[in-house]
């Protein structure tokens, strides 16, 4: 549940998108990461920074969300609320996946130029900032309950997709 007003949609405006983007860029530099992604828990990519051209970002977002969902399922089976951090160690690259306010997923891909300790430290700070922006997204959604592109859609618009 993202917005108390519109529970079936998550609307991201330019302003908050840019704020997400600048947090990710700072995290990328501060953690010496290769690439960072911000994904919602349903698997949609919100924002990314770094060498993203080497990655299939849509698939990555979907699998990261699946990974968090499966791990959350495991957590509840042993009586934990969640496992908020996942770490995958590869031969060359590593992946740090963490939850932001139990709603967004922050993915950091890094190699030997960085370390898990540094990434964890920087992710914690970035997570707090992302949480603040997320709150602003909610507040905007509450103010602007109606009047967006979706409300203006007509049946003719929808039909036009299939011509």
């Amino acid at each position: 549940m993202v917005s108390p007003m519109n529970q079936n949609r998550f609307i991201l405006h330019e302003k908050e998108y840019n704020e997400f983007q600048s947090v990710l860029k700072k995290l990328l530099i501060d953690s010496y990461a290769k690439v960072v992604f911000l994904v919602d828990k349903n698997g949609s990519l919100l924002s990314s920074a770094g060498e993203t051209e080497d990655f299939d970002t849509t698939s990555l977002a979907s699998l990261a969300a699946g990974n968090i969902a499966a791990t959350g399922g495991l957590a509840s089976l042993i009586g934990e609320k969640e496992f908020s951090i996942l770490f995958h160690e590869g031969q060359r690259d590593n992946m740090h996946i963490s939850l932001v306010d139990n709603r967004l997923i922050l993915v950091v891909v890094f190699d030997g130029r960085s370390s898990i300790g540094l990434v964890r430290l920087r992710v914690r700070r970035a997570g707090e900032e992302l949480g603040r922006i997320l709150k602003a997204v909610d507040e905007t959604a509450e103010r602007e309950e109606e009047g967006g592109v979706i409300e203006e859609l007509t049946e003719a618009d929808i039909e036009s997709l299939f011509k």
């Binding site: 991201l12 998108y17 849509t58």
Partner: protein, 196 residues
């Protein structure tokens, strides 16, 4: 839950193909993958067992064109149909905007269809959805096999909401895009109405 990004001018929605084991959910996605212009769809991901049974989900992102300057993207997922993968099915329904229930038309599979349909309703409720209101279409698949149940039998068994229903042979593509278009329309209409 749909995601509307004003910065990249995109509308993203999630559609889940649900149904009993071996009813053809993955086959639907494979056909869509094969037939769509590569520029309009992403890679298809299948998390499957060695015997190609879906273990967690299949995923295929597709683009359907623009509405009012917004690109529309639909994330298609399948669930594992086998009964014992229920925990995984529940997870995949999270954030869903519309469901395609894929029924197996073979007369011997009617119990499995019903069991899976009941399971869908239970799992939707567990995820906070009203199973009587969520956008839903039915696909009666495998219309090319012997010992078929009639459409009216399938309708009587499953379609108490009187939602759009499509006959299909997913392996050859019959009805696959009609089903997809059917659910996309319902999802966008529901999105416009706002809130469930």
């Amino acid at each position: 839950m749909s995601f509307i990004n004003y910065s990249s001018r995109e509308i993203n929605c999630k559609i889940v193909y649900y149904g009993p084991g071996l009813c053809g959910k993955t086959t639907n996605l494979q056909y869509i993958f094969r037939r769509m212009n590569p520029g309009d769809r992403g890679k298809m991901i299948s998390l499957a067992t060695e015997t190609e049974r879906t273990l967690f989900f299949d995923f295929l992102p597709v683009s359907m064109g623009e509405i009012r300057g917004f690109k529309t993207r639909f994330h298609l997922y399948t669930v594992p149909g086998q009964v014992f993968y229920d925990a995984s099915r529940r997870l995949i329904l999270r954030g869903v905007d519309g469901v395609v229930f894929c029924a197996d038309s073979q007369i011997t599979r009617m119990d499995s269809n019903l069991e899976s349909f009941d399971n869908l309703r239970i799992n939707l409720r567990e995820q906070g959805y009203d199973p009587d209101r969520i956008p839903l279409v039915l696909q009666y698949n495998k219309r090319d096999v012997n010992s078929l149940a009639s459409v009216s039998e399938l309708h009587a068994l499953l379609n108490y909401r009187n939602v759009p229903e499509f006959e299909a042979v997913a392996s050859t593509g019959v009805g696959v895009f009609e089903t997809l278009k059917g659910i996309i329309k319902l999802v966008l209409i529901d999105l416009k109405k706002g809130g469930r």
